[in-house]
């Protein structure tokens, strides 16, 4: 099968998956106990006001029309209006998503750079103490609940030593002119440091173990022996020949991790009161603001599906040995 064919088939699968998740979501929200209208109207309202509100949120339409409009809404990025604040869900996502992305990308870069380096060293020193401690570190990073690490960091560095802020993204009296101005300010970096590092600590275990396992496989291949027989320096063999080959699955895993970590930052955002998309989804869920909960969830799922798609294409593009069947 050709490359084009693979891309087309994979695109079809992408659309199918998105549709299935959207349908699942629609069904879940309609099947659950309790009527969503009860959360937007009060008993004391005039009947005309009640009807107007129901009509405004489209809840008076028959099911199949609601379903169709829901799908059209997702495609056109029109995700409805918040029950709580009467703002457009699209606008709410546009406010909170960039904050999550900055946090997530910082954490991912730190996690993958250090994870890959430690994983390479671990595989190279196979069977030695340094390998065992690296593997143990990776397992510890994956096992420690990220929100608990966050609590400990806040307790020691925030409450006790008072060197990091206890919550938020900027200081209260800081008024940035634009998003760009904000994220390049020192105040923002000061707030970003703790949550980003805690998130990076949690994420690092996966690339570390993956890199180690890949390296172990690559190191057992013949071309490594050839490199050594040629008399290349150990460092050259390790970084130029072995690590580069072992890096490939880590790159695609990184692409997939971008997708999952948009939603995975929820707990960190909650602990550090970081105004991100995950925390906003939790708040919407807790106050039964269904359009926002639904819209943010669609966004988080779409991030996962699209990054999985990107990873697949990336893999076939980066590795010429991949066949399409």
């Amino acid at each position: 099968m050709s490359k084009i064919n693979f891309a087309v088939r994979r695109t079809f699968q992408l659309v199918l998956t998105l549709w299935a998740i959207a349908t699942l979501l629609f069904a879940m929200f309609r099947l659950m106990p309790g009527d969503p209208t009860t959360y937007i109207i009060a008993e004391t309202m005039e009947p005309e006001v009640q009807e107007a509100l129901i009509a405004r949120y489209g809840l008076d339409q028959p099911m199949h029309i609601q379903y169709w409009e829901f799908l059209v809404g997702i495609v056109t990025l029109d995700l409805g209006i918040s029950f709580h604040s009467s703002r457009e869900v699209r606008g709410i996502i546009a406010i909170y998503l960039p904050n999550t992305i900055v946090l997530m990308i910082t954490a991912l870069v730190v996690a993958y750079v250090f994870g890959v380096i430690l994983g390479t060293i671990a595989a190279w020193n196979r069977g030695e103490g340094s390998e065992k401690s690296a593997v143990f570190l990776a397992l510890l990073q994956q096992s420690t609940p990220s929100f608990w690490t966050g609590l400990i960091v806040l307790w020691i560095f925030g409450a006790y030593l008072d060197v990091i802020p206890m919550s938020g993204m900027t200081s209260r009296d800081f008024r940035p002119e634009s998003f760009f101005h904000m994220i390049t300010s020192l105040d923002f970096l000061w707030h970003l440091m703790a949550p980003a590092l805690v998130l990076a600590f949690y994420m690092m275990g996966y690339p570390l173990l993956l890199m180690r396992n890949n390296m172990l496989e690559v190191l057992s291949e013949d071309f490594i022996d050839v490199c050594r027989a040629k008399g290349l320096k150990e460092r050259t063999v390790m970084y130029k020949h072995a690590a580069r080959n072992a890096l490939l699955p880590v790159v695609t895993a990184g692409a997939i991790a971008i997708g999952y970590s948009v939603g995975g930052a929820i707990l960190i955002e909650t602990v550090f009161s970081w105004p991100g998309i995950g925390r906003e989804m939790v708040r919407a869920v807790l106050r039964r603001d269904y359009p926002v909960a639904q819209g943010t969830f669609v966004m988080l799922a779409a991030a996962v599906v699209i990054m999985n798609f990107v990873a697949d294409l990336l893999y076939s593009w980066l590795d010429p040995r991949v066949t399409y069947d």
């Binding site: 998105l18 608990w148 057992s220 929820i266 909650t270 988080l300 996962v304």
Partner: protein
């Protein structure tokens, strides 16, 4: 001997429960299972880390069972004196006999930690059994039958791969109501995908092996080939994903409880941490409230990962340490 008699003879011991050979057949099966499980067990217990993981989970299991004997107070038993002010641990000068002090609501922290073992293990183990069970069953069916069945099931797996774990669990728990059962359902809904995909590819290759083809030629039923010839070979992978699912189940339950969507009727480590967070235990520096539950979560979760990694080395000899 007529042709028919002969064929009856040849196939008689291939019947599921032939009456004459029944006992022998079962004994043989039990012996085979024992042998292969014993082999895996030895490979597994070769690793000191795996032993550590198993002992830790066993200890927490015992604590969960005899929690009422160990805990000095009930999990929801309030010290009315301590409700007025948080009691410090008695060895730090707090009043009463609270080894780890009390929460802001006047509950004994040590007792809550001990009782918290129960929901953690129940959620972890149940999620593990169902994730591994559902995943393996789907993988066996998809991989063995192939074709459209395989296509259909693998498209469902693709869809499951589109679900982000924590947001999905949060949404489902919010809609179905906060309870451990719903957390388990949500975790299984998301996490069965990994064993399904990985074990299926294993089954695809097993299906083409001579021993399976030999079984097919002798007329063994599909059910028999799947359960007797293929399933035992993918068992280490099933255990691997089961062990990982324990870890994911417990982490997820703790996270969901921390957000405030935990089972309100029970005390779990996650709800303890939520209580500590919302009551500003951090700024008050009452570390005896929020340190112990976190250590417990980490210990149980790392045990799951360690056992899973042990199985990883059983299934992938390339990773085994040279000794």
């Amino acid at each position: 001997m007529s042709q028919q008699d002969q064929s009856a003879n040849i196939f008689s011991n291939l019947e599921e429960y032939g009456d004459a050979d029944d006992v022998d057949e079962r004994q043989r099966q039990i012996r085979l299972w024992k042998e292969s499980l014993g082999e895996q067990w030895e490979l597994l217990t070769d690793d000191r880390m795996v032993i550590f993981g198993m002992i830790t989970i066993a200890v927490f299991g015992v604590v969960a069972i005899i929690a009422p004997l160990l805990a000095p107070y009930g999990p929801t038993e309030r010290d009315t004196m301590a409700m007025l002010r948080w009691e410090d641990p008695y060895w730090m000068g707090g009043a009463g006999d609270h080894i780890l002090g009390t929460t802001a609501e006047g509950y004994d922290i040590l007792s809550q930690v001990i009782y918290g073992t129960r929901p953690a293990l129940i959620v972890g183990l149940t999620a593990a059994v169902f994730c591994a069970g559902v995943g393996t069953s789907v993988a066996l069916v998809a991989g063995y039958y192939g074709g459209r069945v395989d296509d259909f099931l693998m498209r469902i797996v693709d869809i499951a791969y589109g679900l982000p774990l924590l947001p999905t669990v949060i949404l489902m728990v919010a809609m179905l109501g906060p309870s451990f059962v719903n957390v388990i359902i949500a975790v299984v809904l998301v996490m069965w995908r990994a064993p399904a995909r990985v074990i299926r590819s294993q089954v695809l290759s097993l299906r083409e092996r001579p021993f399976v083809q030999a079984a097919q030629i002798t007329g063994a039923s599909d059910w028999r080939i799947i359960t007797r010839h293929i399933a035992p070979n993918v068992l280490p992978l099933t255990f691997l994903y089961g062990a990982f699912a324990i870890a994911w189940g417990i982490l997820t339950e703790a996270g969901v409880s921390f957000i405030g969507l935990g089972d309100p009727s029970q005390v779990s480590w996650g709800t303890m941490l939520q209580g500590a967070h919302t009551n500003n235990a951090l700024t008050h520096g009452t570390w005896w409230w929020f340190i112990p539950p976190g250590i417990c979560i980490t210990l149980v979760v790392i045990s799951g990962f360690l056992i899973g990694r042990g199985y990883e080395e059983v299934t992938n000899p390339a990773l085994r340490n040279e000794r």
